[in-house]
Symmetry: C2
Subunit: 358 residues, 2 copies
DNA sequence: GTGAAAGCGCTAACAA
DNA sequence: TTGTTAGCGCTTTCAC
């Protein structure tokens, strides 16, 4: 069957040129806002463009200039408020400099991350901001660098990759948080993260391929060691990758005879699920279990009790990487910078001395 | 041998063709995966491509095909978990059909929305999903339709624009929620929304240019009328556009002698801020003030008391629009559809009879 | 200051 | 099955 020939050919520079009785080049100059054109001609072209309702084809423009004005961003999970906020920081900084952002999710999966990067570089983005999901396999990031596309890292550093990076002082933060717990009298403290290993259990730091978590574990272990806690490695719990997963891990932990008396959660999504699981088990915060988490999420101040958190400068984290990247995009060559932003703890009501003597 | 001036000219189809000793067209056919090529040649080209590390230029590809494989999405505020979740629904559906998503924020501002749309259409996206921030000025949406780019509406219908639309039964939802409050004995109920008017006060429904809120107000008013509440219009509060804004409105409301005994919040962000404000004022939920909100956000189940909510099928909302749009993108012409998804109330603990007799 | 023509990297007719 | 030749809509020399 036949479809009506509804030809919706978009109006092009040529069309405008014709309408304005000038050459294609001249029309292009005023439409593209480059080169020199007499005021008189400019007006004529603009008028013609208006009459025809001309809309530039950015695709074609990018093709000839080689620039897209777009920054590609790949984060682990945009639904995590941590990333939403960081992305807003990026977007704001980008917009301020005339760049736009295209966003992709990696789901913290290396293959998805690679695919996203392939998509983005295929679209010829001008630069990339990535939250690398793994430090083990970074060949794709190396490729990007080799291809000449500027790259910057957000929230997670890669010691092997010398590029602009903005992170927070994860080790220090975890250390301080753990110490807070220890000082309250806890010795059976658990650090809970989404990161996982093949054996779903923590043995040593070399299994951990996410730099932020690596740092946090080190801070955690150090604080434990300082407090004379024996074999603190056993207190690291991995694999809180989803809500049910988290729930299961926490519930199971709490059912053990030697259950933890305090938990340090690696992000606010985990913390929320942990909080729910604790309640469900019939235990209370901080009476039975003390809780502290990374990320000062909105809800943390509104629970009973409100949650003590490690406040990260999330928005600025995003803003800072974007600025670093854009500086490079604008041609200011400079050696890669590694910025580490400070965090601080906001004490609220979710930490108390342990009740169950050990 | 010496390294020449690191020319980062990307390798093209021509390069591969040359390397494989075939014509550009042939190379393009195997690289672009179209037309017919003998197995032998195909292998040769693929090998050459691998040797040269060929990466297709999607930009060029889109230029010649006229398709980008991208769906542009414009939502009000990606930081609102409602939209994050809807966007995930869209992304999942898009990915399943081989499309990618590029996301833009409107900040609920008509000019920003227009700019975002300009950007997206400039990039020649294949289709658009929009949460229109206003029903008053939809010229830009009309333009899109006229240009032939498929468009679908998310969460907010536009009576004047006959396009694929997926919303929820906002009027019914607000009606049921309000009735729940009324049944509990409340007559001084307040509906609080981010939408605002020039005079920052509600007079009549024609001032409201956001269809969802319009519907909600109608449902709210209807339930009030049914309960014999006098001049229910005065109970509609507008302008909760930001956290401080919301806080101010709620605090001010609560300080009035005739303060509301129950609040219906239009989204979970507003509800959270409202909850905080109530507490700050020294009042309690539901003892002094009952609270119910749209959107079953994660945190609502974890407060004390947990919040009674209107549960919307947010993920499916996104999934459904995306599927509608993609069907159209694939050429299945069909008359525009308006899908309305049901909601239901999850009763928790934030509603109780009013204590202050009126 | 303006125009003609080449070309970005790819796909799409049409030939061979 | 493969190659030749045009474009897509724009920018960019390079003359005039």
């Amino acid at each position: 069957m036949k479809t009506p020939a509804l030809k919706i050919r978009a109006v092009t520079v040529s069309d405008v040129a014709q309408e304005a009785n000038v050459s294609k080049a001249t029309a292009a100059r005023v439409l593209g806002n480059y080169g020199v054109v007499s005021e008189k001609v400019r007006e004529g072209v603009l008028a013609a463009a208006k009459r025809l309702d001309y809309r530039p084809n950015e695709l074609a423009r990018s093709m000839s200039t080689g620039k897209s004005g777009i920054i590609g961003v790949v984060v682990g999970d945009i639904e995590n408020p941590f990333f939403s906020l960081a992305v807003r920081g990026i977007s704001d900084a980008a917009k301020a400099e005339g760049f736009n952002v295209i966003l992709a999710n990696s789901g913290e999966q290396i293959e998805t991350e690679k695919a996203a990067l392939r998509l983005l570089t295929g679209k010829r983005v001008d630069g990339l901001i990535v939250t690398p999901s793994e430090s083990r396999d970074i060949s794709h990031l190396r490729d990007i660098l080799r291809s000449g596309t500027p790259l910057a890292l957000l929230d997670r550093a890669l010691s092997d990759l010398d590029v602009d990076t903005v992170t927070v002082d994860d080790k220090q933060a975890a250390f301080m948080a753990t110490r807070l717990l220890v000082k309250a009298g806890h010795s059976n403290v658990c650090y809970l993260t989404a990161v996982d290993t093949d054996e779903h259990a923590y043995r040593n730091i070399d299994q951990i391929y996410t730099s932020s978590v690596r740092d946090r574990i080190q801070g955690f272990l150090q604080a434990c060691a300082e407090a004379g806690i024996d074999k603190p490695e056993r207190l690291v719990r991995l694999g809180a990758t989803s809500q049910p997963e988290t729930r299961a891990i926490v519930s199971e932990s709490l059912r053990q005879p030697q259950r933890p008396t305090a938990i340090l959660a690696s992000d606010s999504v985990i913390a929320l699920e942990t909080f729910k699981a604790i309640r469900e088990t019939g235990l209370s915060v901080p009476g039975d279990i003390s809780l502290i988490t990374f990320h000062n999420a909105d809800w943390t101040s509104v629970t009973s009790p409100p949650i003590t958190v490690i406040d990260q400068p999330v928005y600025n984290l995003g803003k800072a990487v974007a600025e670093l990247l854009i500086r490079r995009l604008k041609g200011h060559a400079h050696p890669p910078e590694r910025v580490i932003l400070p965090t601080h703890i906001i004490e609220r009501g979710s930490i108390a001395p342990p009740t169950t003597a050990k």
